[in-house]
Symmetry: C2
Subunit: 442 residues, 2 copies
């Protein structure tokens, strides 16, 4: 192809740094990306230092050269042996894909799920001062938008396996940020009897960008996992852009609230479990922000159940036709999570279809698109009517968490009374209830 030819002519290939001058004078500098997945050989795609990709049409390229300054690949495996330090805690580190593991793509263009302790330490040498990576697993290599319940199960199994080693203090899971909160919720429900912390970690900026949060997030996550204080599934991400502090969020109360900022993850009407100061990467400092977390249990954790896939999340908006509910009923769905308005409402025009769904034995759960606050279906006529036809109030659960939980609950039981009871009972901290002290800050 044209693009490949041009690169070869210049002795360049995917992963190399390049400087391109376009016919209109525009200069693009960055790393050559693998041949566009779009099957287009008319463009060379360059990942610029600001993290964005641009395609330059081959026939508009005036000059193409390797730039003077080289650019070190950011994840060079460490050379030599890693020494075991008996004073440091043992942590199992897993990779599932996403930005935090994406240097593989940028450098080789290959989808390479390799993820060794040497590579990790090569990328973040400070890890050597914080934990012993006793176990590094390449579990998956997915952008997290492609995660499915079967992947949640796979990760859960690896976690349970890793924690069955009595020498392992905790587990860190590198994960794409897009659906990290969903996975965290899934693991929170499906793993029982956790004997150590499980910490999901991602990066909003890839490690080839100066502003990357990959290293500090990873260090904070490893420190928290190694600390071994908590028997819960958590998410550890950058806390404030102004300061090098990470927050450890409860896996069932966290949400990605910004498309691009490093401090995108927020505990929603819930106080994070801890903060980790990572100003000095070699010496992360953990400070607990609440004390009502679950302690690690004795014995080994296990998988409890799985996820029913015939569950839908339906966000309501004015003017939307309830026929989408009929569709799910007709398709044999077992559960529907509604993301309603305000205290938990949808148009009264939806009542008939909802009633039909409930009569068909489908569990219909109400959450709020406000995200913050609690559903209360006793205040307005609409709420009472919805209750009367059998809608289950989702309490203060995030819609996304209620969705994952309903999948989990429907895998366990098909008794609708029991479904309602379980949905309204706190299992893993997902119903914060009146326990919040802290603030609403959307």
């Amino acid at each position: 192809g044209k693009a490949g030819e041009l690169l070869r002519e210049h002795g360049l290939s995917v992963g190399d740094r390049v400087r391109i001058v376009r016919d209109d004078g525009v200069v693009v500098e960055g790393i050559i990306m693998p041949r566009s997945e779009l099957g287009d050989d008319e463009h060379i795609v360059v990942k610029m230092d600001n993290g964005y990709n641009v395609g330059v049409r081959v026939d508009r390229i005036e000059k193409l050269e390797a730039p003077g300054e080289g650019h070190e690949p950011s994840f060079k495996p460490m050379e030599g042996e890693i020494e075991y330090d008996p004073k440091l805690p043992n942590v199992s580190v897993m990779s599932t894909g996403g930005t935090i593991a994406c240097r593989v793509d940028y450098e080789t263009g290959a989808v390479k799920p390799a993820f060794t302790a040497e590579e990790l330490v090569g990328a973040v040498p400070e890890l050597l001062d914080v934990i012993n990576i006793v176990d590094a697993r390449a579990v998956l290599d997915l952008l997290s938008e492609n995660m499915e319940p079967k992947h949640w199960m796979k990760i859960a199994e690896e976690v349970v396996d890793a924690l069955s080693d009595p020498d392992v203090e905790g587990v860190v899971i590198g994960h794409g940020t897009d659906t990290m909160a969903f996975t965290a919720a899934a693991l929170s429900f499906v793993i029982e009897g956790l004997n150590g912390p499980v910490v999901l970690v991602g990066a909003q900026r890839s490690s080839d960008r100066p502003s990357s949060d990959a290293a500090s997030n990873l260090i904070a996550a490893c420190a928290f996992a190694g600390d071994g204080e908590v028997g819960e599934v958590t998410v550890c991400m950058h806390g404030w852009t102004s300061d090098e502090v990470c927050l450890v969020h409860r896996g069932v109360r966290v949400r990605k609230m910004h498309t691009s900022r490093r401090d995108a993850f927020r505990s929603v009407e819930s106080i994070p479990i801890a903060k980790v100061d990572v100003k000095d990467l070699r010496n992360p400092k953990i400070e607990f922000l609440r004390s009502d977390y679950r302690r690690p249990e004795d014995g080994e954790p296990e998988i409890s159940g799985g996820f029913e896939e015939k569950v839908a999340l339906v966000k309501f908006a004015p003017g939307m036709d309830p026929e989408v509910l009929d569709f799910y009923v007709d398709r044999g769905y077992r559960g529907i999570v509604l993301e309603g308005t305000g205290l938990g409402h949808v148009s009264e025009q939806w009542l008939e279809s909802i009633e039909r769904a409930v009569d068909d034995g489908i569990a219909v759960v109400m959450t709020s698109q406000c995200l913050y606050g609690r559903v209360n279906m006793n205040v307005y006529r609409t709420g009472r009517l919805l209750r009367a036809v059998g809608v289950i109030p989702g309490e203060d659960m995030l819609p996304e968490v209620a969705y994952v939980k309903l999948m989990y609950v429907l895998d366990r039981t098909d008794d609708i009374k029991e479904v309602e009871r379980l949905m309204r009972t706190n299992i893993a901290g997902e119903i914060e209830g009146g326990r919040v002290l802290g603030g609403f800050e959307p």
Copy 2:
């Protein structure tokens, strides 16, 4: 029925204050609500002072009495004539229903869309110091979860009619909070050439509660409408719980972010247009927070177009089957707004159905469930693949606003190129673009 009988026996009726002692000693005090819409005559429903309704089973009632202290109906029409004050601005006030107008329900039990200047002034006498209510219209009487595009049109027509009076400075619209932001977006698009402010206002707590925000919100909204500085559709609601300040949000950048708090409405990655200090209700003080608002136009406003109803909002979650997209295609939908993850993604498994939709001429627009931040479909493989099959990036539009806008745009054109151009062009401030100075604070 049992409940009715018991009340009659005690000389009580709907709207009266009552004190009930249940057989287990529980005491419920509040206002008797109209006979339960649930067709249940076994319960008496009482609205308590904390705003919540409880039903007490008739056969568990031990004592039932009118309590010693009376409770004044909170919206008593003013007696006598309202004097016109030539020094004050003229404002048209409309009611569409919701908590801000709900005293009608509580007192008479009837669905009574009456809404006169006298009633307003009776409820909030301080209005007399702020504006002349030259025009009070009971446009609708709906809980806003029941609003539909046809109601948006009805409100738009009333607004245009009210503003065709050259003596009217601005319009205030009382509205339920649940879908207020949707209506604000709809009016922002469908009214052209605004010659004065249009201010939607609601209340999170009804006016029979001590903590009600009804009066202060209404005063702030009227003051802002009377000020006449802005030619935009806005939402005026309580700003901070700690202080008596209301915020005036741009109608296309605002979202209800909490189910129950008074400060539930937030400008999302956008600075509110103004704040209104209402510590002294008789003397509200407006302070503008930005200057890039639209000024009122000369001449009269008009309705431009309408809303295509064959549009769906689809929120993505891991594990969700793309068959819901096929369903919408088969049902002849013309537009789908996706609420994807992160920078604007869905699972690659959705690509085929999306491609089919696009091939069928359906406009598919991508927004992010992060809510904050901007869609960018050039960063990850998934985004590029989605672009390649024709998905339209929704820029930094809120998903709800993109949904309303797509209805509006599809009513104007069926040329898909033009749809894409309009969706990506700022019409009413809905694409904030790089213009934000202020903060991300979810």
